[in-house]
Symmetry: C2
Subunit: 345 residues, 2 copies
Amino acid sequence: MDITIAIDAMGGDHGTRVTVPAAVAYLKKHPDDTVVLVGLPDAIEAELSKLGFADRTRLRIHATTEVVGMDESPQSALRGKKDSSMRVSINLVKNGEASACVSAGNTGALMATARYVLKTLPGIDRPAIASFLPTVNGQVCMLDLGANVDCTAEHLLQFALMGSTLVSALEHKEQPTVGLLNIGSEDIKGNEVVKQAAELLQASDLNFYGNVEGDDIFKGVTDVVVCDGFVGNVALKTAEGVAKMMGGFLKEGFSQNWFTKLGALVSMPVLKAFKHRLDHRRYNGASFLGLKGIVVKSHGSADSFAYLCAIERAAEEARGGMLNHISEHVEKWHHARQQTAGEAL
Amino acid sequence: MDITIAIDAMGGDHGTRVTVPAAVAYLKKHPDDTVVLVGLPDAIEAELSKLGFADRTRLRIHATTEVVGMDESPQSALRGKKDSSMRVSINLVKNGEASACVSAGNTGALMATARYVLKTLPGIDRPAIASFLPTVNGQVCMLDLGANVDCTAEHLLQFALMGSTLVSALEHKEQPTVGLLNIGSEDIKGNEVVKQAAELLQASDLNFYGNVEGDDIFKGVTDVVVCDGFVGNVALKTAEGVAKMMGGFLKEGFSQNWFTKLGALVSMPVLKAFKHRLDHRRYNGASFLGLKGIVVKSHGSADSFAYLCAIERAAEEARGGMLNHISEHVEKWHHARQQTAGEAL
């Protein structure tokens, strides 16, 4: 299946300096796919000529005149910048010219614009942000990571359904296990929303594992971990903070004197493998799930390797037919629920 | 100031095997303090004679007949076990025979019993669980870590006040900085409760820094980080999970073959210092704040070194006159608020 990816070339802290090399790298890896670079043509052309990439058979520039700032409010981006690289990238998905889009632009503006342009899938109340994190034995899909600060139990169920479908589409797992993030494994723990969500999940056709706690995320206890966006965002950033602190401690320790530097030298293969295993760039690319189109958000500070990973994620979602899978899953579930309600009458 | 600490000798996964050696180690370090070991006398005596510790001038055994199970419900512990080592330890604080108590028993039962026996301080609606975590440049006091899953803005303000007082008492800082855990540093971010809490904190006499995010906890951005118990518990366990995973990756990497083992050998001082810096045992001892008495909860699986750290924490709180400080702080704040309300009329 040939994929066309729209890339918001201007988004992120580094704009075209990162997005254009990543797009070119993607094209070299995927000889059947096409990329549309959306943004200020001069900036894009300059970067392409720097890279010496002249082939235009699978690369197209879509000129726009505006750029959404990294600190710009969602309202300002949505109302004031109809010709922004961000907005037009999403438009290309909407009108079928692209299978998916990627942006490293600001999360609030991207979510608001994507939601406005693409709308949510039938049966989904709110889109959620999902990302993969490393675990001791692979990776885990966690959502929501910040789109929804207040959630109902029904929202959490919808997140579970979408996360489960994402893992199925990307990892080809039949029935991914779903954990509900809570503060204890017992059923009586947690707040009312989480308790109700556990009941809904139990009654659903998802492979519900039960409650999981913060440390279970990284043990790889389940394939999917579901929580509201406030808790998910705090957990994600806490994890990043601890990883950074520990990495810093190691670096500090190994660079103290000639003896510790010798240790680092001898341990180079171990330290390199350690760094690779936890390399957050490999996990770059958060999926906006629940929209009628595939939108992947790259970290604003991503380098071109990280950005390439985000493009890969978007392409995999398109190739895996994720949107259809979510729609089918939601429909099946609504149908089953209506039947149960009918029987109850 | 001579301190008497009541120790729930039976609590925790290992009971007297951990609590008694830790108590003896504490007495050796603090020649003026006294310890009351509360629990089944035979088990305590057996452990003491194993240690060859016969001196009873500063060590007293307080016999009880019951033990609260690690999985026992708070209700069952509270109603059914009035002569448990946990309950009686708290009673000793209540009637002034001990300055503080320590237990590694189950958190729910300990909090319910402590709250029932000691009651909350005037002006404090709910007790909170506070603990210290390592940061890049020291440590941070975080609360609530799981006592309150649903909080109002007013509760978060009270937590801030108590956390700030705890840091003042233990670290002798004049005006500890307080951060409010949120999902963005901007004022508009977060849920309604957090936004209201920010306003209350801004208007208080606390040294309010503003919003902090998950990764800021470990950067040591503030001395105190405040959040509701659901978010705090998830963040704490997430941090533990990441630290454990990273430690495991390192261990695995260094034990792969003779070359990596050589690397570990040469790097021993660095790896040892790294382990020490993150040693969770040094941070053992969560304070139950807001009660009319000092109660410190040790991790259930603590070893005797970790348990000793929890006893030290309890003693420091008593020595620092923490309860008086909290009471004074709350009173001052209520007074200021009433004045403001009076002026507004």
